[in-house]
Structure formats: structure tokens, C-alpha cells
């Protein structure tokens, strides 16, 4: 009887974690992914034209669940070569990175644990460093940067599908601290230029949809599509859309996946 109770109790606890958690079913997990990103952007500090291009991208995510609360930290970065969409012979080398820290609380979950919805907040930091190559005879280059740290609401929906987990997460900035120098940053031409803004000036949407299924007891395979759109209304406006598709491995930390 006692042994039966011992067997039942952990199962019950595990069932509880499945039914309430919108993160991965282990208490904590780490994911490493690699893929390709498409970046489209306009930064009028560099050029009035829209630039677009693709390049390799890597991301890492740490998630931890505690009761109905879920915490995740996601970092992403990549290097891309961008060209103008109207075909003139200039180009940009973009190095960009993002870090998102999300805290969520499950607000709705199905009894069988196959579906859960959580809401919370997201602290999102992004940084873009651009080397712009002009189409002049001297092949001049200039360097520009853009950074923003934003805080806003986040929502996550998770559903078990065909033995795996599909997760959709959305977040949007409400308040942001932006660093956008007025001109190129080489040789001290333009120092830091900080601005605290709200949705009036900086609007954005970060979204991801992923599907994960177990490969072994402790590891699973994750496919993820991530997109981030931003519109910053400055004297030198910035518009950007980054789309990433990646495949990775998730390892459970401190507990096997069932």
C-alpha cells in the first residue's frame, strides 16, 4: 500500500505539472537551436532605403517551471548580409542579437493537461550593429547601431499535439529605453542618444511558434519559427522585421521527461 502510494504520488505530481505548466514539462530545460534568419530593415540613420537579407542564426533558451509560474530566458543572435530592395549596389553587414526574459503564470489549463494558457510580462532587449557599404568609388563604409530594452505583456499558449507540444508565444513592448545615435558611430561623430518611449514611438510584436517532441527520455527536438517586428518613430525612423526558422535540441535539467 505504501509503495503504491509512493508510485501514485509522483505520478500525481507530474500530472499536476503537465496540467498547469505552460513551459516544458520538466521543471527546467535548456534548448540550443540553429537556423536561418531573414532580416528586413530600414534605418534612416544609415540609408533611406529598405535592406533585406539572410544569414545564420543561433538561439538558446532556458526555461524553469515552479508550480503555476514559468520563467524563460531566450537569447538569439546572427550575422546577415543585406542588400537594398531597389537593387542599387550598396550593402550592409548586420550583426543583431536579442535577449528576452519572460515571466508567466498559468491562468487556464485543461483537466488532462493537454492545453494551457499563461500570461505575464516580457523584458526584451535587442541590439543591431550595422556596417553600411556605400556604392561610391572609394567604397566608403559607416557604422550605425540601434538598441532597445522594452517591457510589455506576454501570453503563451501550449497544446499537446500528436505526442509533442506546440507552443505559441506573443509579446509586445509597452515602454522602451532606446539607444539610437543620430549619425554614424565611428570616430566619435555621434555619441550615445538615449530616449525613453512608449507605444507612441516604439511599437513591436515578438512572436514564436514551436513544436517539440521527445527523442529520448531527457532530450527532445524543437522546431521553431520566430518573428519580431518593430516600428520606431524617430527623426531617423527605424523599421525592422526579423524572421527566424531554427531546429534544436532541448535537454531537461534535473528530471527526466516522461
Amino acid at each position: 500500500m505504501v509503495s503504491t502510494l509512493f508510485v501514485i504520488a509522483p505520478l500525481t505530481a507530474h500530472a499536476q505539472s503537465i496540467s498547469t505548466s505552460t513551459c516544458a514539462t520538466p521543471r527546467s530545460s535548456f534548448n540550443l537551436s540553429a537556423g536561418i534568419a531573414q532580416s528586413d530593415r530600414v534605418d534612416q540613420t544609415a540609408s533611406p532605403l529598405q535592406f533585406g537579407g539572410r544569414g545564420p542564426d543561433v538561439s538558446a533558451t532556458y526555461e524553469r517551471t515552479r508550480g503555476t509560474f514559468c520563467f524563460s530566458a531566450t537569447g538569439r543572435g546572427g550575422i546577415k548580409t543585406l542588400t537594398p530592395t531597389n537593387g542599387i549596389p550598396s550593402r550592409e553587414r548586420l550583426i543583431d542579437a536579442e535577449l528576452g526574459i519572460t515571466g508567466l503564470r498559468t491562468v487556464s489549463a485543461s483537466a488532462n493537461g493537454h492545453r494551457a494558457i499563461a500570461i505575464g510580462a516580457n523584458l526584451h532587449t535587442q541590439y543591431a550593429f550595422t556596417t553600411h557599404h556605400f556604392p561610391d568609388v572609394e567604397q566608403s563604409t559607416s557604422e550605425f547601431r540601434f538598441g532597445a530594452m522594452s517591457l510589455g505583456p506576454a501570453v503563451r499558449w501550449r497544446e499537446s499535439i500528436r505526442g509533442g507540444n506546440a507552443v505559441l508565444q506573443l509579446s509586445s513592448p509597452l515602454f522602451s529605453l532606446v539607444e539610437h545615435p543620430y549619425a554614424s558611430v565611428a570616430d566619435g561623430r555621434a555619441g550615445p542618444r538615449l530616449a525613453f518611449t512608449s507605444v507612441n514611438a516604439l511599437r513591436g510584436l515578438q512572436g514564436s511558434i514551436s513544436y517539440e517532441w521527445a527523442a529520448t527520455r531527457r532530450m527532445s527536438i524543437l522546431t521553431k519559427y520566430q518573428a519580431g517586428w518593430m516600428r520606431y518613430d524617430d527623426i531617423r525612423p527605424v523599421r525592422s522585421l526579423t524572421q527566424t526558422f531554427g531546429i534544436g535540441i532541448t535537454t531537461s535539467l534535473g528530471g527526466a521527461r516522461r
Binding site: P48, R189, T223, I235, S240, L241, F245
Partner: protein
């Protein structure tokens, strides 16, 4: 295995579907109005001399925009834009239409004329052992056993100031030095200040500058000091005469500013061009590029010198006819000041 096959298919579809959406209204590389507006706007938010030169940029735009729109081809458009930019009277403003190997720039009278300066004459008539450094950035020789001569034709590029050290080492016996930067069109400010550091006896403020940093024509950073410090393995501490003329521009003027703050340095010759600018390159929707000035620079005693120039400590008149008859009056005066009789 089927799941993995689905995964590959999804990945392929996702990658091919990641096309470039329009984030802003596309710019037409053949639309003269868009090209003009882009050029006018970039100057409006970045050009540094509107207030200092008393230019009403709105009025300038109103005059030239209809002409630009009516331009029937690229050559006519380039002419119109150049005429508009010529009104800025700025040696650092230029327009480079695609397909041209040289850009269209504002020229002063001094730019168009031939300066009364001939490096070949100096080497032939005034120097013994005249030679140039291995990289060709510095030419030097002895004007007398105790007076050395160093000529720096340009400050383009970086990483070559060691050639100046080579020249100074060769002129080890000289107790006085003539540094000739006549006809130096400038180049890289960092290089000019590194070179000036070879004559610096201490760290000194040689100029002040402020950058345009906002949409209003009066938006600038605060005035920041520009410092020259001793640089290189050794610094020349004897008497130095720096030769200048009307064709010393930009970083050439930085060198003059940075050397003349030292008590052992005298500038001699003619006033420099007065072209400080600190240009920035930008591009237009049709692939043309242009440059515009982004800062306002002042002397160490906070005097504005754009389009005015840096007057020498000792003015020496010189004409092209002097060079033709085999004399260099500015160099003659420098040598006389240092106690060397004419060759």
C-alpha cells in the same frame, strides 16, 4: 522517419516563404522628386554650416526642387543638384552620380588656379640628399647642415606616420626643421594628429569641434576640445617652421592647428583654405552618393575659420611667376629666418 520528413518540408516551405515585405513605401530610383527630397532632407538634418553661413535651406529647396523634377535625364539632374549644393560654398560637399569616377564638388578660385609651389623645384634647388620615404608619404632632405626639410603631401590613409620618424631620424643633425604642408589636401584626421604629435612637447588643446546631432539647424553636441599629444618614438624639439598656402585643406589644416599651439613652431606662407567640414558619406535612392559636412570646428582660441582659413604667423607673398623663374619665396623666407642663405 515521417515526422522528420515533415520537418524538412516545413523548413523548406518556411525558408522560401520568408520574403521581403515592404516596411516603408518603396523609393523609385528614377523619380526625380524622391531623389531631390532625399538629398534635401539629408542635408537638412545633418549639414552643419547652415547657421554659420546664413543659409536658408528651405528657400534653396523651394528654388531648386522644380528644376530637379523637370530635369529630363541624369546629367541634367546632376547639374541641378550640383548647382544647389554649390551655394553652400563647402569644399567638403560633393555629389557622385553613378558611373562617374570623380565627384562633382565646389571649387574656390584657389582650387582652380595653380599654386605658387613646385616640390620638384624644392628638391632640385634647395635640398641636398632629397629623397622620399619607402611608402612615399614623406619626402625630406637637408637645406643646410643644421636645417632639415620635411614635406608631407597628403594625410590620406593610416599606418604610415612611421615614415615621418624615418625622415626625422635621417635628419638627426638638424637643429631646426621646415615642415612643408603646402598643397596638402588633407585626408585622415587621425593621421594628421599623429604626425603633429612628432612635434608636440606636451598635450595641448589645438581646436574645438561640435557635431550636428538633431533636426534643428542649431542642434549640436557641446563644444569638445581636440587634443594633440606627443607621439612616436621621439619628438623634434628644435625650432620648426610650418609652410602653408591656400591649398592646405581639411586634415592639412588640422596639422597646422595642432602644431602651431607649440611655442617652438611658426607658421609661414599664405592663409590656408578654411575647409574643415568632417564629411559624411550618404546615398540616394538611385545609387548616387554624396558627402556633406557634419561638424563645426574652431581654433584653440575658439575662432571660426570655415571659408576664412588659418592665417600664418608670417605672411609671405608668392606668385606663380616666382616658381617659373626658379624661386620659392616662402621657402626662401623660412630659410632666411633660420639663418640659411639662399642657394
Amino acid at each position: 522517419m515521417k515526422r522528420y520528413q515533415r520537418l524538412v518540408a516545413i523548413a523548406a516551405a518556411a525558408l522560401s516563404a520568408c520574403t521581403s515585405p515592404e516596411l516603408v513605401a518603396p523609393m523609385d530610383s528614377t523619380n526625380n522628386a524622391q531623389i531631390f527630397d532625399a538629398l534635401w532632407k539629408e542635408f537638412d538634418v545633418h549639414y552643419s554650416f547652415f547657421e554659420a553661413k546664413g543659409i536658408n535651406w528651405d528657400s534653396v529647396g523651394a528654388i531648386f526642387r522644380p528644376q530637379a523634377i523637370a530635369a529630363p535625364n541624369d546629367a541634367a539632374l546632376a547639374r541641378t543638384l550640383s548647382h544647389m549644393l554649390a551655394g553652400l560654398r563647402d569644399r567638403h560637399v560633393s555629389l557622385a552620380p553613378a558611373g562617374l569616377t570623380r565627384s562633382i564638388a565646389y571649387l574656390t578660385t584657389a582650387d582652380s588656379g595653380v599654386a605658387p609651389f613646385d616640390p620638384g623645384l624644392v628638391d632640385r634647388r634647395y635640398l641636398t640628399g632629397a629623397k622620399c620615404s619607402q611608402g612615399g608619404h614623406v619626402c625630406y632632405g637637408l637645406a643646410s647642415p643644421t636645417v632639415g626639410y620635411v614635406r608631407i603631401p597628403t594625410f590620406e590613409g593610416t599606418g604610415w606616420v612611421g615614415e615621418l620618424d624615418e625622415a626625422l631620424a635621417s635628419l638627426r643633425g638638424a637643429v631646426s626643421l621646415i615642415v612643408d604642408v603646402r598643397n596638402n589636401p588633407g585626408g585622415t584626421q587621425q593621421t594628421a594628429i599623429e604626425a603633429a604629435g612628432r612635434f608636440a612637447t606636451s598635450s595641448e588643446t589645438y581646436a574645438y569641434a561640435k557635431f550636428r546631432n538633431g533636426p534643428k539647424h542649431s542642434d549640436f553636441t557641446s563644444l569638445a576640445p581636440q587634443i594633440v599629444s606627443p607621439a612616436g618614438p621621439t619628438q623634434f624639439r628644435g625650432r620648426v617652421i610650418v609652410l602653408t598656402n591656400r591649398k592646405v585643406y581639411s586634415s592639412g589644416e588640422d596639422f597646422v592647428l595642432a602644431t602651431r599651439v607649440f611655442p617652438n613652431v611658426t607658421t609661414m606662407g599664405d592663409t590656408t583654405a578654411g575647409a574643415s567640414g568632417r564629411p559624411m558619406t550618404r546615398e540616394l535612392p538611385n545609387g548616387w552618393t554624396f558627402q556633406l559636412s557634419t561638424w563645426v570646428q574652431y581654433t584653440a582660441d575658439r575662432k571660426f575659420f570655415e571659408n576664412i582659413g588659418l592665417a600664418p604667423d608670417v605672411y609671405v607673398a608668392a606668385e606663380r611667376s616666382d616658381i617659373v623663374r626658379g624661386a620659392d619665396p616662402i621657402l626662401d623666407r623660412a630659410l632666411a629666418t633660420l639663418g640659411v642663405t639662399k642657394p
